[in-house]
Symmetry: C2
Subunit: 81 residues, 2 copies
Amino acid sequence: MIKASVYVTIKQSVLDPQGVAVQGALHSMGFREVESLRIGKYMELQLDTNDRFEAEARVKAMCEKLLANTVVEDYRFELEG
Amino acid sequence: MIKASVYVTIKQSVLDPQGVAVQGALHSMGFREVESLRIGKYMELQLDTNDRFEAEARVKAMCEKLLANTVVEDYRFELEG
């Protein structure tokens, strides 16, 4: 069993309206030290395999095909176990 | 300038319908090794402070008050810089 942690973030050049909104909310609550805030997705997958090399290729394929929109998003992942 | 990475995940005892849907989509695409998948949020904050101790308390307060719904979500964060 391998655990994969996938991080999907909006590319730096792309506007993140959700992040801007949350930053505005934090400012109005008094957290004025927040200079920027960007929101992404974090996914934890349990994979029924023990082949780390294969798992790496498979998770990469999942990210490219479904988990991330590579036009506007970046992704990275870590494998454990 | 301190960078905070905040991870907000749905508690293990709480159903994650978005994760179930994505897992179903992966299965139907042939990624049958995915045993479970849970989706959370990942936030990157740039904080205009150099006081790590203060930053830790402030980010904790942001999570408790806005970034996480502690009834159904867990959070953790890391500070860098």
